[in-house]
Symmetry: C2
Subunit: 324 residues, 2 copies
């Protein structure tokens, strides 16, 4: 699958993560709160067959931005939708930067295409099979009118009928929360260590090996000016060769990360993007169990019928099953 950026794009100053925070609120029209209380029903029967067409689609960055917004709205309550590759802080040549961002956007879309629900969604297929402007605009309007977004996504989900206890749900929330925190911590540690190691190799070690090589070559020249009548040429040549070899080794050290760590670092960056989504998803799940406890109290206080409460209970179960 290939998604190409057509031209340099204008960068946004707000981060996708901040957007995630705002979009995934439990409350508001499409919030989990309204879903749990049955404030919206949907008769949508979405079903899209995934097709790998190998079509090359040329998208501008603003298309990605729009697409990310739709995915976040529609699936963000249950599926981790990683943020778009961000503007880099450290200054790079424009070309190198654009190339890197293109590659990260391709990784981003490839990751999403692996998710069965996302890959089969209409909006994903629309984005992937962009052909002409007219078709694009029609699909865009349709996607923007979609009502099955936010917490309401759970309305279109079919889950096993077995009821789950609040204890079971909460214990798996805790377990998963702990896993996410440890994964996040681990990836942060590994990333920072590789960053330091990379700096040591491309900075110190590479520079020092090249400096050592340079000094050896210079030192060889000292011998050639010694006025010594013996066989000096072989020594000078050997030292020059050794010096050159050390310079080459230094150069290999400076080039090494490009061929080794960089792809690993890109993978960690992807993981980081995915992990950043879970706290908000977990927050929704926790809000759901809290709501259920609240409903229990309402039933005791005769403010809610048992049947009403059981409907909420079923909706919470659907969320729990959806959360895996």
């Amino acid at each position: 699958m290939d998604a190409q950026m057509a031209a340099p794009v204008t960068m946004r100053s707000t981060s996708s993560m901040m957007k995630t925070l705002n979009r995934l609120s439990c409350y508001g029209k499409h919030g989990v709160e309204n879903y749990l209380m049955g404030k919206c029903t949907s008769n949508s029967q979405e079903m899209v067959i995934i097709k790998d067409t190998n079509v090359q689609v040329g998208h501008r960055f603003k298309h990605f931005d729009w697409f990310h917004d739709r995915l976040l709205e529609k699936f963000g309550a249950v599926i981790p939708i990683p943020g778009l590759p961000e503007k880099q802080i450290t200054g790079r040549f424009e070309f190198e930067f654009i190339e890197q961002r293109c590659s990260r956007l391709q990784t981003w879309i490839a990751r999403l295409s692996q998710h069965p629900v996302i890959a089969q969604s209409e909006v994903f297929q629309h984005f992937l099979h962009f052909t002409d402007e007219k078709v694009w605009k029609a699909g865009k309007r349709k996607a923007e009118k979609d009502e099955v977004i936010g917490g309401f996504i759970f309305n279109v989900m079919l889950t096993p009928p077995t009821e789950l206890s609040v204890q079971t749900i909460e214990s798996s929330q805790d377990e998963f929360g702990c896993f996410v925190r440890r994964m996040d911590e681990g990836i942060r540690n590994i990333t920072s260590t590789i960053h330091d190691f990379d700096k040591s190799c491309t900075g110190g070690v590479a520079r020092e090996l090249q400096r050592f090589g340079k000094h050896l070559v210079e030192h060889a020249e000292a011998f050639s000016c010694s006025g010594y009548l013996g066989e000096v040429n072989a020594l000078v040549m050997a030292m020059q060769h050794t010096g050159k070899t050390f310079k080459d080794i230094g150069f290999l050290f400076s080039e090494h990360p490009k061929k080794d760590w960089n792809s690993f670092m890109e993978l960690l960056l992807e993981y980081k993007g995915l992990l950043a989504c879970f706290p908000h998803i977990l927050q929704n799940h926790k809000a759901a169990t809290e709501k259920l406890k609240e409903c229990d109290k309402c039933v005791t206080a005769n403010k809610m019928t048992l049947l009403e409460k059981e409907t909420v209970n079923k909706r919470v179960d659907i969320m729990a099953y959806a959360g895996g």
Copy 2:
């Protein structure tokens, strides 16, 4: 050849180099000035056959100190006598430090034994074949009474009869001076680069590789607490193994200099010691050519006979030949 230190020794606070500076003055009783002006004649016919006896001699550091003083007095005007291995600035464990100093003293004496004039000298043989205290003291007294020291060493030298021009002497002084400066500069550059490289490897790189390994092992634990029902054990074990291997590689990096650079650094230290002697030797040689020019003026001013001047000239030639 083996020279062993019998016990921990008291360190001197003054450096050997300072001593060299004071000892190698052109002036004073045994200075080059007095030699050139024929203020001392000697009928000594020193001749010592070098014998490799493989005798192990146990010397205290003060014996080395005394021996170094004798060599400097006797040969310092013409042969580079490197300073004794110094007290280290950076704190080390006493044992490690003593072991290193012992090894450096052995290198020091091995280097001197390679010089034909020094190796054949009475004082060297005396030092090398130390047996009992009585013999030692007799030889010590004899060496201390030696009159063929300082500039007077040139009195016992036989050189080719061909006269040398002041221009020839001065040009080879300049050439050698340039070589010494460039060697010194080169060795300083190489030493400082290796020092930095060593720090990068044993510090940064070793630490970061070990940290990376540690984080991988920790990250493996995150997976084992994930609650994921699939095959996690193989992944955890692979990550633990990889982490351990990175720790091991980090350890190898920290141990590396001991097995590689250290012996090279010791050799550079030896070179440094030898090179430090040349400026003073060159100074003596330059003083000699200056004296010769002064004598030329004296002859013109009728303050010196041509015969007297030619005697000085011969002595300067001997020095030039001795300087190689």
